[in-house]
Symmetry: C2
Subunit: 226 residues, 2 copies
DNA sequence: GGTGTCATGTGAACGCGCGCACAAGCGCGT
DNA sequence: ACGCGCTTGTGCGCGCGTTCACATGACACC
């Protein structure tokens, strides 16, 4: 086992692939909790999350969520443990930059609030949009971004601008003190080292699907089935 | 898992990681083409895409897009080559299931059409939504999904329903002959082996960001060594 | 026409992540 | 009390992906 420098309680570096699966586990666990289930095995959780059971066990071993041999894991304990690791235990208000079609949809998306990410405010560069009320929140101008972040304690920024404005939007967010950014604009943005950006590109996802489909139809050797 | 037995011209299996980068390259190349640039080096393209230059070269080596030593790659050639690999050369109409906030935003998203994915139609299970016109298209009931796919030749399905309805929506799409699905619902869905599903979960992305932020603030290594 | 400069293309090594398979351990029934 | 069955926890091997480093080769300039 490659043991990193330290093994302190609470801040071992969890592998990125594991972190990406934790939210999926959490969703399944919350469903189980709603259904009144109190314990779950790695196999059960694996099916719920669509991954391998050994993978689940290894993932959970990175947390302090030990299970009971012969029984399984306690659902409630796992929920609180994963929630703690992912969110630090408290909600992270989100600022959305760019109130176009996508920005409006995101501001109304229930999953954010449910997942501990309430909408702290909306910002747009277009004067025609500023001042309008969207999803119960008044859209504010870009130059109020810093004060908005300060007031609400927002820690996450969502960029939902056109591609051409994405880099500028990110710049504003960074200047306002935001260090976690979710970028929906189809544009590679540059950020300082201490800022974390995740890219969500809808068209890219479709193009990846397109590759596989194109591959299945043209390079299809299963045509004559052998 | 497809059989990597064959190595014919035109359908070598391109590594998944490479496929995921090709759309990013394509975006950068289109910008260059717009700017009138005719050739680009692997270093230039790497900066544009935010990846390593050697990675770019290896990625492009999987395509039939050979460059010229000492000069670089021809932008136009790369564009057509990547487009061909990703889309098969022709547009793939998209059917959107679920016309809630997200579905409406997606139906109006310009990037889809620009990327070769025109909206073929909208479908919803809610009778109150069916018949309404969204983004210039009339929402149709779920039971017309199969005929809609047949009429429009749609090849891709987007699921933008609540989580509880996602599995059913996927079932309808599969039954209608769709083999490429982009699922925005926060739910793991089961599909037959010949169907390809990509998951885009907004809340999950935020939670991953939350982990890193939580880690930076609590397990701050800049504190004291040892 | 020769030479220098530059960029491609690729061989090899490193690291990460995944999955198998097994040992360790807990609980329950007898 | 004891053994049996179930499940966790993990060591190990394999494959993918990334990156460095270098040889190959084309173009431009003189």
């Amino acid at each position: 086992m490659t043991e990193p420098t330290r093994d302190r309680t609470g801040d071992e570096p969890i592998p990125e692939a594991t972190v990406a699966r934790l939210p999926v586990y959490l969703r399944g666990l919350l469903e189980l909790a709603d259904a009144g289930v109190e314990t779950v095995s790695s196999v059960g959780l694996a099916e719920l999350a669509g991954v391998n059971a050994a993978n689940v066990r290894k993932d959970l071993s990175y947390l302090h969520a030990h299970g009971t041999r012969g029984v399984g894991y306690e659902v409630g304990h796992l929920v609180s443990e994963i929630s703690l690791v992912l969110g630090g235990g408290r909600p992270s208000p989100v600022v959305i930059v760019g109130v176009g079609n996508l920005g409006r949809a995101l501001s109304r998306y229930d999953g954010f609030v449910a997942g501990g990410f309430p909408i702290a405010g909306l910002v747009d560069a277009d004067p025609a949009v500023v001042g309008r009320k969207v999803a119960g929140t008044v859209v504010r101008p870009v130059d109020e971004l810093a004060s908005l972040v300060a007031e609400t304690g927002a820690t996450v920024g969502i960029v939902a601008t056109p591609a051409a404005a994405a880099q500028e939007a990110v710049g504003h967010l960074v200047a306002a003190g935001i260090r976690s950014i979710l970028n929906f604009a189809p544009s590679v943005v540059a950020v300082p080292a201490h800022v974390d950006v995740r890219q969500v590109d809808l068209a890219t996802e479709l193009q990846i699907l397109g590759y596989h489909q194109h591959r299945r139809t043209t390079g299809d050797t299963s045509r004559a089935a052998g």
